[in-house]
């Protein structure tokens, strides 16, 4: 009965969503604002990657909110799971020595890749979120590979705080220089170089650190509450 009702509801929603999108031609150029972004990104922001210039510069306020959402998730997770410990009798298989050795060997390379991706966010595909996520997967491998591994939460929280403050201060500096919040105050440089695009790389590096630290912290919190160690 419940399934029938659900199916009916799904059919209803699906039909109307389909009719809404039936009038949207697929694969055709229907850009309005998008065109302006593509045309102005290189001369006005100095960033070659348009997606990055939108995320960090044109719509930087969204990204500030996005960083906050992640920060809140990490904070909320800590609040919800505060004081909870897994049961010690939970037996987990020992990681094999291949996994342990592999994790140790891979970790620096993964961190390097992550750092490369967020430092070059304005030039190549990728950016702070992607790079940070890659770094967090490095931490995940360590958690899986080394049974006694624990992330240093104090260090992580200092890192994420400093990175968050960098983002907001970069915004406030715009105000202090008589411009708008989050407005670029640095020279744009030559598009295509690492040191270009004004504050975009600075913000994206901060975001990379922040996302990396937060996701690592989230993983470690979830792991230690379900794994039975602390």
């Amino acid at each position: 009965m419940k399934k029938l009702l659900a199916a009916f509801l799904l059919g209803f929603i699906g039909y109307y969503l389909y009719t809404a999108f039936a009038g949207v031609p697929f694969g055709e150029n229907k850009m309005e604002v998008g065109k302006d972004y593509l045309e102005t990104t290189v001369p006005k922001t100095g960033a070659v990657n348009t997606v990055t210039s939108i995320v960090v510069n044109y719509r930087g306020f969204d990204t500030l909110g996005e960083v906050t959402v992640l920060f809140l998730a990490a904070t909320g997770l800590g609040a919800i799971l505060f004081g909870m410990k897994g049961k010690p009798e939970d037996k987990h298989r020992e990681p094999s020595s291949i996994l342990t050795t592999g994790a140790k060997a891979l970790f620096p390379i993964i961190v390097l890749l992550g750092a490369y991706i967020f430092i070059h966010g304005h030039l190549t595909p990728g950016g702070g979120f992607q790079g940070g996520t890659i770094i967090a997967t490095g931490v995940l491998i360590l958690i899986l590979g080394i049974k006694s591994f624990h992330a240093n939460h104090a260090l992580l929280s200092v890192m994420e705080s400093l990175a968050g403050i960098t983002f907001v201060v970069a915004g406030i500096l715009g105000l202090a220089f008589g411009k708008n919040f989050l407005e670029n105050i640095l020279p744009l440089g030559t598009p295509g170089q690492v040191l270009s695009a004004g504050i975009i790389p600075i913000i994206y590096i901060a975001v990379g650190f922040k996302v990396g630290a937060e996701l690592a912290g989230v993983l470690d919190t979830l792991m230690s509450t379900t794994r039975g160690e602390e």
Binding site: T19, V33, F82, G83, I165
Partner: protein
Amino acid sequence: MPELFPLSPVHYVAAPLLAAFLLPLVAKLSRSFIKILPGLTFLYVLYVSAVLYPQALQAPIIEQIAGWAPPLGINLYYGPMAGLFASLFSALGFIVWLYSLTQMKQEPLDRFYILLMMLVAGATGMVLTGDIFNLFVFMEITAISAYSLTAFLREDDKAEAGFKYILIGSLASAFVLLGIAILYSYTGTLNLADLALNMDKVPLSVRVIVFGLFLVGFGIEAEIFPLNGWAPDAYSAAPAPVSALFAGITVKAALYALARVTILLFPFAGSMALISILGLVTLVISELAALHQKNLFRMLAYSSMGQVGLAIAALGLFTAEGVYAALFAMINHAIVKGMLFLTVFAMAGGSATLDGLNGMGRKKPILSLLFTLGAFAIIGLPPFSGFWSKLSVLTAMGQTGNYAMIAIVLATTIVEAAYFLRATGRLYLSEGNPAEGKTPLSAIAALAVLAAGILWIGFFPGSIDETLTAGAQDLLDTAKYTEGVLKD
């Protein structure tokens, strides 16, 4: 400092964000900063309100983030209505902080205050922003803080209430995001003002679908029937200061978003009538449900939904008087319901029942008096603020000739009076022996500020007349909005 950092609406969001990121650091220096920093932040945004709001009453302040003119960049629109809400949220945030100082003891306090600040900042951002996707981002900031705070306390079924909330809240955000996706695919823009001018690119049938998506999405957060199943659980599970903020802030922000979006993008008669009817249905069902509640927080939650329903019904008229009345009802509700949640918690603790009030009038006379004041104000007895707000709602309905609506509102008032007077009666008439306990001065002070607000509006309703009229005009004058935002 004023020369260095010219005040602008973005401070409402930037200051709490900076404080939230700073809090984990300063907490390492001294634990006392955990409590001080949020207070300073709320004081600062109140100062921002004091400076900016009078300016906004003259002419709306439009700020372009990162210096990009809309529709390329995101803009903040700080008009009389947004200013009113932002100021109200800041004030409530400060009062709840003052109250939490002594009443909130559950660790981890640093995380509690971060989430509290972000709840207020997110709601303020929802009200300020002029970009529909940015609105979605701030809605999520508010929602994620709210989910975490709902499950903040440890005992029995708090996590379940949080899970229900997150489940239905995620539905809301998915629907809003879908609506945004459809709008973007037809118009190619995300700025609200630009969207309003480009809505003729969207076929009428699609507009109805998008309106439905937004109505469900924001309606869930605004507790419109039948999307409010999460609310009583969340209200009774969350710590009382947070419940006060849910009633005072998150609902209001969602309502503002719904009203703004409806009036800019979907100004057809049907959509407004639908909102009005949903408001009335919410009002009736919630008030009847409140009558059966034994748990005081659930009773207040249902009553809160009823009050919001009243505001929505008035809002749905979309006349100057209707919006005026809706604003009045929302402000009244934010102050009174906030005070009631806080008073009940101070009086009878987190799991207060109706029986727990027995004989409280002798043990805790001040709190009992405050509760009575709040109850009278909610029912709408003169000379308290609730009387004027209900009167303005009824006047607005009368002017549009909706006498059936007036009858419904009056009937629900009787229901409301029944359960609030029952609770008040328990305070003074029933025999009981509640536990002794002293309420700290700072908590009483927080409550006293709210009580003073009720009395002030009650005796001088004319004093907020100008701000409400300006707010109503600001919401209804879409041409001024779009021209202001897209002036260059």
